[in-house]
Amino acid sequence: MGTISLKNINKSFGSTEVLKQLSLDIQDGEFLTLVGPSGCGKSTLLKIIAGLEQQNSGDVIIDDKNVNSTRASKRDLAMVFQSYALYPHLTVRKNLETPLKLRDYSFVERLPLVGNFVPSRKEKKKSIDDLVFKTSETLKITELLDRKPGQLSGGQRQRAALGRAMVREPVAFLMDEPLSNLDAALRVHMRSELSELHNSLKTTFIYVTHDQAEALTMSTRMAVMIDGELLQLDTPSEVYNNPSSLRVAEFVGSPKINTFAAQISSDGSVEFMGIKLERKFNTNSQKALVAVRPEHLEITKDSNKPAFEATVSYRENLGSDIFYHVQVDQSDSKIIVRGSPARLISNGETVRISPSHAEAMLFETSGERIR
C-alpha cells in the first residue's frame, strides 16, 4: 500500500508563507508530479511528506496513519535527491547496502569489527547481498557496484541513487528534481526509464519538478502548484487541454499560451481581435481574456477565414516545428504561432492569423475559467 494524504498543510518560514492550506490525496501506485515554478513550495511539500521538514499545521497521513510526529526514518519512504546525495566515501554497493543494514542489523551488528562476530549477521548479510544484486540488475548497474560515486557519470550516479532508494522497497518514492543535473539527451532518456520503472514497481511515486515536460510525459496525475497553492490536480492531458485557471494555462505548455482581450456581449457571444467565437459562454462579465495555444493558431492565406494581421518579428526553428513570434498589427501585444516547416516565412513579413475556434479558452480578467 502507498496512499498518502495531506490535509490543510500550512508552512511558513519566518513571515513568508510557503504553503497555504494545501490538501492533496495521492493514490496507491500513482505517479504524481508536483510541478510549479521555482519557489512555489513544491520541494518544501515533498520534505514535509518525507518528514525532513515539519509543517506548521495540517496532517500528513500515510496508509491511513497520521505520521505528523513520526520521524523521517520511521516513515518507510525513500527519497532521491537533486544532488543524488550518495555517500561519497562508500562504493555503490555499500551505498545500496546502507539502508538495508540500518533497517535489518541490530546496533551491535552494525559496530565495526565487533559486528563481524555476531552469528546472526551472516544470514542477514546474505539476504542484503541478494537484494542489492537484484536491484543492481534491475537498474543495470551491476558492473558499477565496486566503484565510488566520484568515478561515475551523472547518469550512473542517478541510477545508483535510484538503487539506494529502491532496495528497501519503501511505501513510496519521493523524488526531488532528480533529472535536473543531467544533460538534455540523458534527461529525455531517463524520463522513459523512470516511467518504465514505475510500471514495473507499481509503487507510489511523488515527483517534484519545475520542468513541465517531465510532468506531462511521466505522470499519471500532475499537481500544478503556484505560490504555495494547489491550482489543479488532474491527468496531464486534462491539465493541458482544460486548465482550471489562467495561471495553470500559462504555466503548462511551451511556448506559453497566447492571451487576447475580448468583449462579451449580453447574449454570451465573445469577440476578440475582430473575430467572433462560434461558441457562446454563460457569464455576466463584459470583458474577458481569450487564450489560444500556439498550435491552435494558424497562419492562413484563405481570406474567407476570420483572421487578423500580424508581422513576423522572430522565427524559432525547432526542426519539426517552427514558432513565429509575431507583432499583432492592431495592438502592441506579441504572440507566438506555430507554423509548419513546409513554408518558411521570413522576419518582417505580414501574415494572416486565424484561430481554431473549438480550442479557444475563455478566462475572467481575474484568471478564473469561463466554460
Binding site: A72, S73, L86, R164
Partner: protein, 318 residues
C-alpha cells in the same frame, strides 16, 4: 624540433633558493652530526657515529625521547578529539557560538610566551590560584567532586584530595614535581592546541552538504551516532588528516612552554627534543650533538609524513 631552453631560466632561481635555504642546511646538519665541531672552532674531526651512540645510550637522551613521545601521544589525540567535540557542539548551537569560538581560539592567537607566564603564576605550588582554590575547598563540595568521592570505589579518607588536605595542604607541585610536570605541560599543550583544531573542524563541518544528512535520515540513520558514523566522520576525513598532521608536527616542536616553565626539568622529565636541541646547540654550544638531535628529529618528522602519505591518505575520501 627545436626545444626552447627558456624554462630553465624560469626555474633555476627557485631551485637555487630551495637548495640554499632548505636542502643545504639539512645536509649540513647531517654532516656536522658526524663531527665534534662546536660553533666558533676553527677545526673539527670526524668522529663517526659517536654522537648518535651517545644519544641512544645516555639516560638524558632516552628521557628526551620518552618525554617527547609522551607529549605527542597525549596532546595529539586529546586535542584532536576535544577539537572535534567542541566543533560539533558549537555547530549545533543557535546562539552564542561566536562567543565560544572566540574564547576557545584565544589561546591560539595569544603569544604562548605570555600565556606560559600566566600559567606559571596559576600553577605556583603555594601562591598559585589552583592550589589555593584546592586548599580552600578542603572538607567541602570541591573535595567531594575533585577527590572523586562520588565514585563508589573511592573512599573519602584515601582520595588524593583528602590525603593532601590532611597533610597540611600538600597539593601537587605541578611543574616542580617530576611526577606531574610532563602531564601539566601536556595539559597546557592541549589547552593551546585544541582551539585551532576546533576552528579547522568547524570549517570542515560547514562544508558537509545538508542533503547527505537528509539522505542518512531517509535511509534510517536515526541516532546522532549513526549519522556521525555514516556522514560526519567520513566527510571530515581530509580535515582530520590535516588536523592530526599539523598537531603532531607542532607537538614535536613544543618549546616555549618548556623554556619558560620547566627548562626541561624536574629530573629531565620535560626534556623534549626541541628544548634539547636548544640547550645543547645554543646554550652549551655543542653544535655537533645539537645537529645529531636535529637529524633524529627530522627523521621522526619524515617517517610521520610517509606514514600519513601512504597509510592514512589511502583511507581518506576526498
Amino acid at each position: 624540433m627545436h626545444h626552447s631552453k627558456a624554462h630553465i631560466w624560469f626555474v633555476w632561481p627557485a631551485i637555487i633558493l630551495m637548495i640554499v635555504i632548505l636542502i643545504l642546511p639539512i645536509f649540513l646538519a647531517g654532516g656536522i652530526s658526524f663531527t665534534n665541531y662546536n660553533l666558533g672552532n676553527s677545526s673539527f674531526e670526524w668522529v663517526g657515529t659517536e654522537n648518535y651512540e651517545k644519544m641512544f645510550s645516555r639516560k638524558t637522551y632516552i628521557k628526551m625521547i620518552i618525554s617527547t613521545a609522551t607529549y605527542v601521544l597525549i596532546v595529539v589525540p586529546v586535542s584532536v578529539v576535544l577539537g572535534l567535540v567542541a566543533a560539533i557542539m558549537l555547530n549545533s548551537l543557535r546562539f552564542g557560538a561566536d562567543i565560544y569560538k572566540t574564547i576557545f581560539f584565544l589561546p591560539v592567537m595569544a603569544t604562548l610566551l605570555a600565556m606560559a607566564i600566566a600559567w606559571e603564576f596559576t600553577l605556583h605550588p603555594t601562591l598559585g590560584i589552583i592550589n589555593s582554590f584546592l586548599a580552600n575547598g578542603c572538607g567541602g563540595i570541591r573535595e567531594f567532586i575533585l577527590g572523586f568521592h562520588w565514585l563508589p570505589w573511592v573512599s573519602s579518607e584515601d582520595s588524593w584530595y583528602s590525603v593532601a588536605c590532611a597533610n597540611n595542604m600538600d597539593f601537587p607541585y605541578w611543574l616542580k614535581d617530576k611526577k606531574t610536570a610532563i602531564w601539566t605541560i601536556c595539559f597546557i599543550g592541549v589547552w593551546q592546541a585544541f582551539g585551532f583544531n576546533m576552528v579547522l573542524y568547524l570549517a570542515g563541518l560547514t562544508s558537509i552538504p545538508r542533503e547527505l544528512y537528509h539522505a542518512a535520515e531517509m535511509d534510517g540513520a536515526q541516532s546522532t551516532w549513526e549519522q556521525f558514523k555514516l556522514v560526519t566522520w567520513p566527510m571530515l576525513g581530509p580535515t582530520t588528516l590535516f588536523v592530526v598532521t599539523i598537531t603532531t608536527i607542532r607537538s614535536f616542536q613544543v618549546f616555549d612552554t618548556i623554556e619558560i616553565l620547566t627548562k626541561g626539568g624536574p629530573a629531565k622529565t620535560t626534556y623534549v627534543m626541541m628544548y634539547a636541541i636548544f640547550e645543547k646547540a645554543i646554550q652549551q654550544n655543542i653544535t655537533s650533538i645539537g645537529a645529531a638531535i636535529t637529524v633524529v628529529f627530522i627523521i621522526f618528522i619524515i617517517l610521520l609524513t610517509f606514514f600519513q602519505r601512504y597509510v592514512i591518505e589511502k583511507r581518506v575520501h576526498y
